[in-house]
């Protein structure tokens, strides 16, 4: 029976009341406020950006990204690929230590990979690892991953926190993922009060091998506290009083903040985030004219201006700026541009008109003012005779719902404002190669084009990616709207120095100091 520990837990909860958010942060502590909490400390059990950002502080990865988003060596000082592209051999840096003092070696990498492919409980992002069949310890600093087929997206993936190297000492630890997280990143976990705060302390033995910070070792600050403050105005108030150092501000206050000198605004670049229309793959949106009509009816510039001001920019490509293959000019030629007249024509051709409007659901996920944006789009669609009914839902729900809509035989038309963030064009394979992440649109020709992007590299891959993008855009399968999509604006108190955000929205705190 487990009554006793639970009782203790209960008491601990009661005591937790005693620890208030400090009126002013202590010396050498930096407080970062976010709208939500992490789901878990276990990198194999969640996909939210909120979680990823924290993992990137606690854990380290084999690869890292440079400012453009390209992968560079990190824990792995170098790697070799076999001729056929199915064997990757990594050489690990020397003298890396886990937070519990054990050395980080090839065994830890193998542990991480094996864990991701565990039959009983695979990682929720298992498929992103690609067709990895085995991880092999060659010697303490050499590890070999064997693939069933070539997979060029493996290297960028290993730069992302989904592939955080989990020290194998976690296997013995009670409560990995909830109260324990032994990594080798710059910050080690002190405690996690779920729903409220994560307390991190600088890891003294940290050595930076490739991450995007100037600091070669231990963070300058002693403590990093990540608190959950859902109300945007409350985060702003906290920033103003000094309770909070870094936070996502209310978007509507950004311009006012920029003109003041109390608080600085940092806008992340190369977030990889892509917001786009997609359509349920059945009647009526199996008709390409209707999909194109939606694309032509959407005035992205105006909508963004209204909701985000100049904080967000229209995106022409299905993969966003900073990701391999992105080319605004190329994409703009293929994407149906704003042209309400053309939209009406297309609708009329397909048999819809003012007296017979196209009725559709419009699924949108909550947060980031996407509800307001959707309302603007809703109004634009109404202009050309499309009645879109907005349904707001959590992203998890929306993912399931989109798939459900695709799998249905009939029913009301359904489209959604989907959002994805990825560091490699391989996302397009995941989304649109048979069977497709959402069981959406697929075709043999598209499959063939997508397969090419997995086995080619360099210019050849670039061309392959362009083919795919052109196909997706012309057929209005994946209609890109804008980038970035969420949590990419940071407000920081002006005395905070050295805060930066790595590509794909990973804030870095190693360089942070608090000035006067």
């Amino acid at each position: 029976m487990t009554t006793l520990p639970r009782l203790r837990l209960c008491l601990a909860g009661a005591l937790a009341l005693g620890t208030a958010l400090p009126a002013a942060a202590q010396d050498n502590e930096i407080v970062w406020a976010r709208y939500g909490d992490i789901d878990t400390l276990d990198p194999h059990r969640a996909t939210s950006t909120l979680s990823l950002q924290v993992w990137s502080l606690i854990y380290d990865t084999l690869m890292a990204t440079d400012e453009s988003g390209a992968p560079v060596p990190n824990l792995a000082t170098s790697y070799e690929v076999s001729e056929d592209g199915t064997e990757y051999t990594f050489t690990l840096a020397e003298g890396v230590t886990c937070h519990d003092g054990t050395p980080l070696d090839a065994q830890d990498v193998k542990y991480t990979v094996d864990r991701a492919f565990d039959d009983a409980e695979p990682s929720v992002t298992q498929s992103s690892w690609g067709p990895v069949t085995s991880a092999e310890v060659i010697d303490p600093l050499t590890v070999k991953l064997t693939l069933g087929s070539p997979f060029v997206a493996l290297i960028p993936f290993l730069a992302d926190s989904f592939s955080s190297i989990i020290c194998d000492s976690n296997a013995e630890a009670e409560g990995f993922g909830s109260s324990v997280a032994i990594g080798s990143g710059p910050w080690k976990l002190e405690s996690w009060t779920r729903g409220d705060r994560i307390s991190l302390a600088a890891f003294d033995d940290y050595v930076n091998h490739g991450k995007l910070s100037a600091n070669p070792g231990r963070p300058y600050m002693d403590r990093l506290t990540i608190v959950t403050v859902p109300e945007a105005q409350a985060r702003l108030a906290g920033l103003r009083t000094g309770e909070i150092h870094v936070a996502e501000p209310p978007l509507d206050d950004v311009s006012a903040l920029q003109s003041g000198d109390e608080i600085d605004i940092v806008v992340a670049e190369n977030t990889g985030q892509n917001v786009f229309w997609e359509f349920a793959n059945r009647a009526p949106f199996d008709d390409v004219r209707l999909r194109q009509a939606v694309a032509h009816a959407t005035d992205v510039d105006t909508a963004l201006m209204l909701i985000y001001g100049d904080l967000s920019i229209p995106e022409q490509c299905p993969i966003s700026r900073g990701v391999f293959g992105n080319d605004q000019e190329f994409c703009a030629q293929h994407r149906p541009q704003y042209d309400p007249e053309r939209a009406r024509e297309l609708l009329a051709e397909a048999g819809y008109g003012p007296s017979n409007p196209l009725e559709t659901n419009l699924l949108v996920w909550t947060g980031g003012k996407r509800d307001r944006l959707a309302e603007v789009f809703q109004a634009q669609l109404a202009e050309v005779g499309i009645n879109a009914q907005i349904e707001m839902m959590d992203i998890g729900t929306m993912n399931a719902r989109v798939r459900q809509e695709n799998e249905r035989e009939d029913g009301k038309a359904s489209m959604d404002m989907m959002t994805w963030s990825w560091y490699d064009p391989d996302i397009l394979y995941a989304l649109w190669h048979t069977p497709g992440a959402y069981r959406g649109f697929t075709s043999p020709e598209l499959d063939a084009m997508l397969e090419k992007t997995r086995v080619t590299s360099g210019d050849a891959r670039d061309a392959a990616v362009r083919d795919v993008m052109a196909y997706l855009l012309e057929n209005a399968i994946h209609v890109p709207l804008y980038t970035p999509g969420w949590e990419w604006v940071f407000a920081i108190r002006s005395e905070v120095e050295g805060f930066k955000v790595a590509p794909f929205v990973y804030p870095i705190f190693s360089d942070v100091r608090i000035g006067d």
Partner: protein, 309 residues
């Protein structure tokens, strides 16, 4: 008689919890959509075989009665499963936060009683006077103000604009605003109920008897009216506390108070069914336990129940 009364209440409570467990088991099956699919919705390309295996592991393919029994079995071991988001132990998660919700509801309750009771007494005592009318107009206005509005206004004024109190978080200083938000609107309810209960008591024959004995008015109010009026008021407080628990759900979300209500709303948005199930069970159990305690207080207060005839 008192033992019998309490045993009856206890049985009722156990039945409630029992029914809750059944409802909670059924809940996941009433949901449109597949929970497992939602669980793995964000990972691309989980194969149907893998989903099936997960479904099997969660026992979702078993016949319903079997699912229920295994649910009960695990429940008795203190296991309510894991959350879909992040696979955290559900019961632990809820019990961690329950004290915060109880603290909020409790503080609001104390506030509501401390404000509402005297106002109710005063209004009843001065029935028909301008004092009564003024207080009751205030009370009815108080009942009508949505507490999510009041909460936001309080937060914006006192925490955001004036900066007197911390804006969000979970600690003693953070308790003040949510407790006031929840307490004020309920103080109005308490005042109204106290007044009508007191007026009821004041029109009883025994109060006339006390007057006929020539007792001072204060003594009649303190000894007779108050004591007799306390019985229905205590019952009402039981009900109040459950209102508070319900109201706490909204208020927690405004003030980011780290209680089970906020957890629950997040869970609903995330369609985290194990967590929703656990929340319903924990919430219902808490309410049942609190009601039992109130019933006990009621029994101790009322000699007609306390003493066997």
């Amino acid at each position: 008689m008192m033992a019998r009364y309490l045993i009856r209440r206890l049985l009722m409570g156990v039945t409630t919890i029992f029914v809750t467990t059944i409802a909670v088991t059924l809940l996941i099956h009433l949901v449109p959509g597949d929970p497992v699919q939602i669980m793995y919705a964000q990972s691309q390309g989980t194969t149907p075989e893998q989903l099936e295996a997960i479904r099997d592991r969660l026992g979702l393919n078993d016949p319903l009665p079997l699912q229920y029994l295994s649910f009960l079995g695990r429940l008795l071991e203190g296991d309510l499963g894991q959350t879909i988001r992040g696979q955290q132990p559900v019961l632990e998660l809820l019990l961690e936060r329950l004290p915060n919700t109880l603290a909020l509801a409790g503080a609001a309750m104390v506030l509501a009683v401390a404000i509402g009771l005297p106002i109710g007494f005063l209004a009843a005592y001065r029935r028909g006077s301008w004092v009564d009318s003024t207080l009751m107009i205030a009370a009815i206005a108080g009942v009508s103000v949505p507490h999510f509005w009041l909460g936001l206004v309080l937060m914006f004024v006192f925490a955001v604009n004036l900066g007197w109190l911390p804006v969000a978080g979970t600690g003693p200083a953070n308790l003040i605003l949510p407790a006031i938000t929840l307490g004020l609107s309920n103080a109005a309810i308490v005042a109204r109920m106290t007044r009508s209960s007191m007026i009821d008591v004041m029109s009883q024959d025994f109060v006339r008897t006390a007057h006929a004995k020539g007792l001072p008015k204060a003594m009649i109010l303190n000894a007779h009216v108050m004591r007799a009026g306390l019985v229905p008021i205590v019952t009402m407080m039981g009900l109040q506390f459950t209102y508070m628990m319900g109201g706490a759900i909204v208020v927690e979300n405004i003030f980011a108070w780290n209680g089970i209500g906020r957890l629950a709303i997040d869970a609903i948005f995330q369609r985290d069914y194990p967590l929703i199930q656990g929340f319903i069970l924990v919430f219902a159990t808490t309410v049942v336990i609190v009601s039992l305690l109130i019933d006990l207080a009621y029994a101790l207060l009322d000699p007609r129940i306390r003493r066997s005839a």
